[in-house]
């Protein structure tokens, strides 16, 4: 395919925008055309955030059409369902295994269950990524987004060299080591999951 379409979504404050900037910068290193845009209402902490990324040749619109995203990366479980209709039939959804309860006005609704099953029933390939748990293990909750990018990198035609050079450029020096480590954790997680998917384990 000439153009790769990726969506990143989550909750304001989770690092979706930083992650999409890193991905866009990596794409700029290796691809002719790159466009990235955020689609949301009033941007704020705790709100729903989605970022569209398109790269390859012949990229005009910055927004992805519904049913045409190759990959959706959800930084939060419920957000995967909110933007699932953007994913192409049989496309890949990577979901960070974390729940953030929406702030509610009026009648209280519990956090919905059965998200993975619902998305699988739609024919999508769904992978759960324990990014928040792995980030905790690395001692810095904020590096979850780099773990997710590491997993994502396994599925994209962008070199590890480009990823590393952008991370080195974009992340402040004092946080660089833990972020590089997080990215590597993600790459390994992604590789083993992709392997398992291929061998049907």
């Amino acid at each position: 395919m000439a153009v790769t379409n990726v969506l990143l979504c989550g909750v304001g404050g989770q690092g979706v925008l930083l992650a999409s900037e890193v991905l866009a910068l990596v794409a700029v290193e290796e691809k002719a055309e790159v466009k990235q845009t955020e689609v949301h209402g009033v941007a704020q902490r705790g709100g729903s955030v989605v970022s569209h990324l398109r790269f390859g040749e012949g990229v005009y619109s910055p927004t992805v059409r519904t049913g045409e995203a190759d990959i959706l990366v959800a930084f939060e479980r419920l957000e995967a369902v909110r933007y699932g209709h953007y994913v192409k039939p049989g496309g890949l959804i990577l979901i960070n295994d974390v729940e953030i309860m929406p702030g509610q006005i009026g009648e209280y609704k519990p956090y919905p269950t059965g998200i993975m099953e619902f998305l699988r029933s739609k024919g999508f390939t769904v992978q759960t990524i324990p990014a928040t748990a792995e980030a905790k293990a690395l001692g810095n909750l904020r590096v979850g987004s780099l773990i997710l990018l590491g997993v994502l990198s396994v599925y994209l035609d962008l070199s590890l060299r480009a990823w590393e050079s952008v991370i080195r450029r974009r992340i402040p020096e004092r946080l660089l080591d833990v972020n590089l480590k997080a990215f590597q954790v993600g790459v390994e997680l992604g590789r083993s999951q992709a392997q398992a998917a291929v061998s049907g384990v």
């Binding site: 700029v28 990235q36 709100g47 005009y60 919905p112």
Partner: protein, 584 residues
């Protein structure tokens, strides 16, 4: 020193590219007022020391300053969201009568789809009404390059130019190749010439001159190289501009496309010939039928536009595919899955919450204004009852009072008060009103991302400036009953509201707590509150405070990470079940 070197390929948002365009165009001066989606333009320009840039009190002031710089012979721009041009319209309509000396560009950012705005308005009509050329970029590379075109046109025809961007162009990132800064030769200067510059006295002759200028521009635009035709293989023919062009290219990659960069005045003959050459022409433009109506007015009938395309909302490839190919976009899963929404709310620790709780308790009618505090209208606070546009709250409250309503309070932010609230407050005093005004002074321009303003005592560049003393200003206006109240002390805040309401004559309350994101606040150590479940009766009073840090559910809990320790939930608890962490 430049931030980046020429020739470099960079990922840039449209607004950053516009700022780079200002640098490359040799712009000398830039002014503006924050407003989504335009705010970043001036913020990024402020990093170029070659350009003198500043926040103005409002868009009209920004316009008038930039206009003065341009009359003095230098390149100047002003930048604002589309409603800002409503504020600056007085100058914008008159300046073209005189024309300019140095290049002068007005950047106006539309918001199709109203992502962060009070109305949907197509500012392309402003260019026609004012009789000025209009330039529309479609992506970040054009956003940079076309700003330079706008300055060239401005100087070529001695006219202000409207540079119209939109949310998607301003807020999308793309690859931009950088250029060098143009060293503008400073051979233009202002010459005293009363018949040209004193417009009201000489308006009749200047009007004739402006019409003649428009006629010359109409001729010029016929061969303008940036209104180009992309020849395609299919039978489909398209006329488009701006962000719509990028969507049209996705849906009709093989179409023949007349892509317009200069959309006022239109190249009439070029369009007439283009339409004659094709059986049918799609006119693809977001919002109003600005191009289509003009084309139809020339007697051209083989165009299709708004009978298929919507006049409201943002366009996308999906919108075009539905209109022209009958392809329905894929529906989201709302009907099959309980997608609990994440509604916008005032932040945890927002001082506005305390002001609203007191106003709600007082049972007053609250006229509102434009800012984060507009969220006070939503449940569970529901403490603001009208909101329209910048500065309307005070005049509206006085009007309600004149109309026979009592207990009316105007609520307005600090930046908005400086922008448009001072004249109506003068009017309340002058005309013997009783109006109470609450100025929610959080020491920043919150909604647009925390910009400085005259009462923060800092400039756009973060340098110290004389700090506007709001209390002294309000007293000087003639308001005798002025109180400063702490919105985090509910008893005091409520008492201040009662005192103000009982006072005969105009009264003002200023709240004194900064935004949690204001300078110095973000990193201030904060102790969170916790709920002692053994004392909690699950009455829900803390949840009705409407703070996102008080989590929903039968048994309320407090999110210790987002709680700032403002104490409003603890004050709402009748059972002393909420206490500072570690102080139980």
């Amino acid at each position: 020193m430049t931030l980046t070197s020429p020739g470099q390929r960079m990922l840039m948002a449209g607004n950053n590219a516009i700022a780079r365009g200002a640098y490359e165009a040799g712009v000398y001066f830039a002014s503006g007022y924050p407003g989504t989606p335009s705010t970043e333009i001036l913020e990024v320009i402020s990093h170029y020391p070659e350009i003198r840039s500043q926040w103005a009190a409002n868009e009209k002031v920004a316009f008038d300053e930039a206009m003065g710089v341009a009359m003095s012979g230098k390149r100047a721009l002003c930048s604002m969201k589309y409603v800002g041009l409503n504020v600056a319209a007085d100058s914008f309509m008159v300046f073209p009568f005189a024309g300019t000396v140095g290049g002068f560009v007005v950047i106006s950012a539309d918001d199709p789809g109203m992502y962060s705005s009070q109305n949907e308005q197509d500012n392309r009509y402003f260019a026609r009404m004012a009789q000025v050329p209009m330039i529309e970029p479609s992506d970040p590379q054009e956003a940079k390059d076309y700003l330079k075109l706008a300055f060239e046109l401005s100087e070529l025809f001695s006219t202000p130019v409207l540079y119209r961007t939109s949310m998607r162009v301003s807020h999308s990132k793309g690859v931009v190749t950088l250029g060098e800064r143009l060293e503008v030769k400073n051979d233009r200067s202002f010459v005293k010439d009363v018949p040209n510059w004193v417009v009201p006295i000489f308006a009749k002759s200047l009007r004739a001159k402006l019409d003649a200028k428009m006629a010359r521009m109409s001729e010029f635009v016929e061969s303008y190289p940036f209104n180009w035709i992309e020849e395609g293989q299919s039978k489909t023919a398209i006329i488009t501009s701006g962000a719509s062009y990028t969507y049209a290219k996705e849906i009709f990659p093989d179409a023949t496309c007349l892509k317009l960069a200069l959309t006022n005045p239109l190249p009439k003959q070029k369009i007439v010939d283009f339409c004659a050459r094709h059986e049918q022409v799609y006119v693809i433009e977001e919002l109003e039928p600005f191009l289509e109506e003009q084309i139809r007015a020339w007697g051209i009938t083989n165009v299709i536009g708004k009978e298929r395309l919507p006049r409201t909302g943002e366009y996308s490839p999906d919108v075009l595919a539905k209109a022209f190919l009958s392809e329905e976009p894929i529906k989201d899963f709302t009907n099959e899955f309980d997608l609990i929404s994440r509604p916008p709310q005032l932040c945890p620790g927002c001082p506005h919450r305390g002001a609203y709780l007191a106003l709600k308790k007082a049972g007053v009618l609250v006229t509102g204004d434009i800012g984060c505090y507009t969220l006070g209208a939503l449940p569970p606070l529901g403490a603001m009852h009208t909101s329209f546009c910048m500065g309307a709250s005070i005049g509206n409250a006085f009007g309600f009072e004149l109309g026979g309503m009592d207990k009316v309070v105007a609520v307005i932010g600090d930046s908005t008060f400086i922008h448009g609230g001072i004249p109506p407050l003068i009017d309340v005093v002058y005309n013997g009103g009783n109006t109470t005004t609450v100025i929610l002074d959080n020491r920043t321009t919150g909604m647009t991302g925390h910009q400085e303003h005259p009462a923060t005592g800092m400039t756009l560049q973060g340098r110290e400036a004389p700090r506007l003393d709001l209390v002294a200003l309000i007293k000087a206006i003639g308001v005798e009953h002025v109180q400063v109240a702490d919105p985090f002390k509910q008893k005091d805040m409520y008492q201040a509201v009662q005192d103000a309401l009982q006072h005969e004559g105009p009264s003002v309350i200023l709240t004194n707590r900064p935004c949690i994101f204001a300078r110095g606040e973000k990193n201030r150590p904060k102790t969170p509150y916790v709920i002692q479940e053994d004392k909690c009766t699950q009455c829900g009073a803390c949840q009705r405070v409407g703070c996102p840090a008080v989590l929903p559910g039968k048994q309320p809990r407090i999110d210790e990470v987002s709680c700032t320790g403002c104490s409003l939930c603890a004050q709402a608890c009748k059972f002393d079940a909420i206490a500072l962490k570690g102080v139980m």
